[in-house]
């Protein structure tokens, strides 16, 4: 319950953060810390250095932009939850932020940290996947954009390079027709299974939390919907292409069954 020894540096700019990452291969960025620090306490993660970007307040914002919404990567869950603007423009992001962990976690944890950590059981990655978000990464050579479908290549892996800082997340305006079905044992737990559904272009984008090594789009469901299937029928294809884990929270078999129930409920709510 005590982390291995590490160095610590608080940086005042994104450039300084990038420089610090380049200087030490074992360095990790520290934002809210609510994913990284527990892993360090268990000594599952043993970074040589923590580069603390938690006070880069320039990276905490929500603004209407280019027909969408731009969210600074260091915006904390609580600020997402409390933002009237976000509640109007992309209510699923605001609502789900309010379902992450507990109040202490939500006052520290950041949306960018959740994305960079790429935990398949995290809520934000699946929601952003369903929204088709665009991720802005800043590295030594400037910024680049990463599409949602490319952002989560593997378990606890994001598309960010070692010396890149996630600086902004852009999502489309999606004021109506959405649902996030989060099934937990206890309120503050990670989802056993989560389902995000967002009404888009007359159909719905659907994604799954904790149904595989990465957050997943429920391709089978989306295809069925596009073909005119009703929610209950489409939901039967919820687990297509998924590889849910078996653990003390639920077996693979249970998760598959649960995903169908939750997809149906999500579609019924989002398409109502």
């Amino acid at each position: 319950m005590i982390p291995a020894a590490f160095e610590y540096e608080r940086v005042e700019s994104v450039d300084a953060a990038i420089a610090a990452l380049q200087a030490d291969d074992g360095a990790k960025l520290l934002a809210g810390g609510h994913s990284l620090l527990p892993q360090m306490k268990l000594r599952f993660a043993m970074p040589t250095k923590l580069v603390d970007i938690g006070r880069l307040r320039d990276l905490s914002y929500i603004r209407e932009d280019d027909g969408g919404v731009a969210i600074g990567a260091l915006t904390r869950y609580h600020d997402l939850e409390a933002s009237d603007e976000l509640r109007q423009l992309a209510p699923i992001v605001s609502s789900v932020a309010g379902q992450v962990g507990d109040p202490q976690v939500r006052h520290m944890g950041t949306i960018g940290g959740s994305v960079a950590h790429a935990d398949p059981a995290g809520d934000m990655p699946a929601v952003l996947l369903a929204l088709g978000a665009t991720f802005v990464a800043t590295g030594p050579d400037g910024t680049r954009e990463i599409g949602a479908d490319d952002m989560f290549p593997g378990l606890f892996q994001s598309a960010l390079a070692n010396d890149e800082v996630l600086t902004e997340i852009r999502v489309p305006k999606t004021p109506g027709g959405w649902s996030y079905q989060k099934f937990t044992r206890r309120a503050q737990d990670w989802a056993v299974v989560g389902v995000a559904a967002v009404r888009m272009n007359g159909s719905a984008n659907v994604s799954l939390t904790n149904m595989g090594l990465t957050p997943l789009r429920a391709g089978g469901v989306e295809e069925a919907l596009a073909g005119g299937a009703d929610p209950a029928t489409a939901a039967e294809r919820a687990d297509e292409g998924s590889a849910p884990p078996s653990d003390s929270f639920g077996s693979e078999e249970y998760r598959r069954a649960l995903s169908k129930v939750l997809v149906r409920r999500a579609l019924e709510e989002a398409l109502a």
Binding site: Q188, L258, V261
Partner: protein, 792 residues
């Protein structure tokens, strides 16, 4: 200050709370001393292995390390085990550090001392152990085959067999019109005191005088047993239990780390401190439960219970801790519940496995018993197609105010079980709920209502010393109390019980306040320090008020008797002319001619004119050995909604009607019920210690081991209107510390099963996780498709 106000029965605010809620309480982690060093244990990553070598070289060279020590570096006896429940019990040898074999996840082989805690923990990880791994046996039934022996010298893993002895005509188990046979498994639980264990040992080496400050429930028992383990003379060993952040039985024990800290302080001449980590707590502190029962109920078609029979397997873990095999035995006396069958049988076999030792966990044997009898009664009701209320009502022992012998052979002090059931049914609006349930079933709602009952009794107030002796327990069950009336009118109370959240400072003050006619604010209650308090037997088993509180009552009586002598002398009347009333001794018929206790205390202190033969100072000590246990009872009803698609359960209503005899502080009693029910709900729906096949605890952090939070714990409606006085003690008190945890698990599980019983489900095990419930529904539906009943 003298007062005529009475305090027993009033919700007096807790005297303990200001320091707790302002962060000024003195938990062991707050203690520090000059020259103090830290201890950490090296627990190798083996479950079952022969130790080939321990290399401490690297650890010893690490920063801040004072020394690294293995078993041979200490002169410590075996750790205490005080309840050899049968003559032929096999007792595993258990030392503070393992030297031959590692037998479970939590076994330590070396201890590191360093200048800081962090240095000690880092160095402990660097202790290199070479070992030959052996197959691990976690499953009791597998262990019982003796294919792998945990302790070679014992020759078997089935280390103890105990039978209650039975009563009545057992042919009924074959010949009764209805025979219900069921098997219930109750998984291991982790007690999860919010404060893990910790201790600090220091002393005066030249005098061989030592103090152990430990987060324990039992400073007196720690003192006497560790005196034996360490060889420190008992009068030179002081044990202090500071503010203790919960125990739930896990700190009703004497642990390796306490012995090692004393051994190291003695070896090094420096204060040695140890604070347990949470993961360490999960493997190296005791677990609870871990039992399987085969149960038989013999009954009639109309619902009369004729006989009850229970055959239990109990997981001891890798060693015995202080009481291990005594825990199932304690339950063995209450498997009949509040019912009155004609035949009774209980037996258990204790089995050692490669897992954390089990021991007392809130309720200790009685929750295990209550769970199986209450599940069984519901199964019986389903079998004969009757309402579970009706079956219970037919079998509840009628109200009795004098002690009456139960079928298990012990005398139950008093009880009125049906009254508590009636109150609970009224509070929960039972008939209305059943109507709602019928409607929901007819509509085929996704969420189905379930109603679960638990009518229970428990055996508290441990215990009459002669009975403990007959049960082969090594100590007695008495307790002591001292009262000192100070010259300014204040009162010092010292108790042999050792609270760790129960509110003794308040409750004890209420007892003394009423007895002596002063206010609780005038009274200071001291506890948890063997140098200050009278000898006692500490706090566990809902014993404190019915034994320690009763001792206090007798000390009050002694003080009042001495005060009467002094008052008579000062008022120049005969003692017989005085009567006690309105908080003073006054002349009968002349209430103005009176002396209050503070006035008499002042006279007794200056002692200028005391009656012939009266010692100065108004004080008394009483030691009380109860003539019987105390037997609370009650009825809990849980109402749930089960989502039949996901298996998720939500508790929508919870009613607890507990009769714990005379209530001294109803607010504290309510608090005990709330906490107990919360732990019972946890047991029913959330908590389960799970090992993987190789014997590693997979629920090793609070992320996987699901302690529910305030969000998951339901609103609890309590009712304290039934207070059948105990005939065991003069206060009429029974005990309430464990009732919630005893009553709640079957109420919740019975409710979950009830919610889906119309789908053909007849059984769901603890904890009723969504997946377990989902599987039960699915299996029942497919079985019904095949024309069979369903179970999971």
């Amino acid at each position: 200050m003298a007062t005529t106000e009475t305090f027993i029965g009033q919700p007096v605010l807790r005297k303990e709370d200001p320091e707790l809620i302002t962060g000024q309480a003195n938990f062991i982690d707050n203690w520090t001393m000059p020259g103090m060093v830290w201890m950490a244990l090296a627990r190798p990553p083996y479950v079952h292995a022969t130790i080939d070598g321990i290399d401490t070289t690297e650890a010893a060279s690490m920063p801040g390390v004072v020394g690294v020590y293995a078993a041979a570096d200490f002169d410590l006896g075996a750790l205490p085990f005080v309840w050899p429940i049968t003559e032929d019990i096999k007792v595993p040898v258990h030392y503070a550090l393992a030297s031959d074999k590692v037998r479970f996840n939590g076994d330590a082989v070396a201890v590191v001392v360093a200048e800081t805690r962090e240095q000690a923990i880092d160095a402990a990880e660097a202790v290199a152990v070479t070992a030959t791994e052996l197959p691990a046996v976690i499953d009791m039934e597998q262990a019982a085959k003796d294919e792998v022996l945990i302790h070679d010298d014992l020759g078997t893993n089935s280390v103890v067999h105990w039978s209650h002895g039975g009563a009545g005509d057992h042919s009924i188990f074959d010949s009764a019109p209805v025979v219900v046979q069921e098997r219930y498994a109750q998984p291991r639980l982790i007690p999860n005191a919010i404060e893990p264990r910790g201790c600090l040992a220091y002393g005066v080496p030249a005098m061989d005088e030592w103090t152990l400050v430990s987060s324990t429930q039992i400073p007196h028992i720690v003192k006497v047993t560790l005196s034996g383990v360490t060889g420190i003379a008992e009068q030179k060993l002081r044990v202090i239990a500071p503010d203790v952040g919960g125990g739930f039985g896990s700190k009703l024990n004497v642990y390796a780390e306490e012995a090692l800290a004393l051994g190291l302080a003695r070896k090094l001449g420096r204060p040695v401190k140890w604070i347990e980590g949470r993961r360490e707590n999960y493997v190296a502190t005791t677990h609870g439960r871990g039992v399987i029962h085969d149960c038989t109920l013999a009954g009639t078609e109309d619902g009369k219970i004729l006989g009850l029979k229970f055959v239990e397997l109990a997981d001891m873990g890798a060693y015995y801790q202080l009481l291990t095999p005594g825990i199932p035995e304690l339950g063995g006396w209450v498997y009949m519940g509040p019912y009155d069958p004609d035949a009774y049988w209980y037996e258990f076999t204790g089995i050692v496995t490669n897992s954390t030792p089990t021991d007392a966990y809130r309720g200790a044997g009685r929750p295990e018993a209550t769970y199986v009898i209450e599940r069984l009664v519901d199964s019986f009701a389903r079998r004969i197609g009757k309402d579970p209320v009706e079956v219970r009502r037919m079998n509840l022992k009628p109200a009795f105010a004098e002690a009456s012998t139960a079928i298990s052979g012990l005398n139950v002090d008093s009880g009125d079980y049906e009254a508590t059931l009636d109150t609970a049914l009224g509070l929960v609006e039972y008939d209305k709920l059943r109507a709602q349930q019928r409607d929901g079933r007819e509509r085929g709602d996704t969420k189905q209502l379930g109603i679960g009952l638990s009518t229970y009794i428990e055996m508290c107030g441990l215990a009459p010393s002669n009975i403990l002796g007959a049960l082969r327990y090594a100590a007695g069950g008495w307790d002591g109390a001292t009262i000192e009336c100070l010259p300014t009118g204040k009162v010092l109370v010292k108790t042999g019980t050792s609270p760790h959240g129960q509110g003794h400072e308040t409750t004890w003050a209420q007892i003394v306040a009423d007895g002596l006619g002063v206010t609780p604010d005038d009274i200071e209650v001291l506890h948890g320090d063997t140098l200050i308090t009278p000898l006692g037997m500490d706090t566990y088993g809902s014993r404190s008020v019915s034994v320690g509180g009763a001792a206090l009552h007798f000390a009050v009586e002694k003080v009042k008797a001495k005060a009467r002598t002094i008052a008579a002398h000062e008022l120049e009347v005969a003692e017989d002319d005085l009567e006690w009333g309105d908080g003073s001794w006054h002349v009968t018929g002349a209430p103005d001619k009176a002396k209050t206790i503070p006035e008499i205390a002042f006279s007794a202190w200056h002692a200028h004119s005391l009656p012939e033969g009266t010692e100065p100072h108004l004080n008394a000590t009483a030691v009380y050995d109860p003539p019987n246990f105390t037997w609370p009872g009650g009825a809990h009803i849980c109402v749930v909604e089960v989502d039949t698609e996901t298996g998720a359960t939500e508790i929508v209503k919870y009613v607890a009607v507990d009769d714990c005899g005379t209530v001294i502080n109803p607010m504290i009693v309510d608090g005990q019920i709330h906490g107990g029910v919360a732990q019972g709900v946890a047991e029913a729906l959330y908590e389960e210690a799970i090992y993987d096949e190789s014997g590693n605890l997979t629920t090793s952090t609070m992320t996987q081991y699901l302690v529910p939070t305030a969000v998951e714990v339901p609103t609890i409606t309590t009712d304290g209107s039934h207070q059948t006085p105990s005939t065991t003690n003069p206060l009429g008190v029974k005990g309430i510390g464990e009732a919630g945890t005893i009553a709640a698990p079957p109420a919740v599980i019975n409710a979950v099963i009830d919610a889906v019983s119309h789908l053909g489900v007849t059984a769901i095990e603890k904890p009723a996780s969504p997946e377990r419930v989902w599987r039960a529904i699915r299996d029942a539906r497919s079985d019904q498709g095949n024309g069979r009943g369903g179970a999971a």
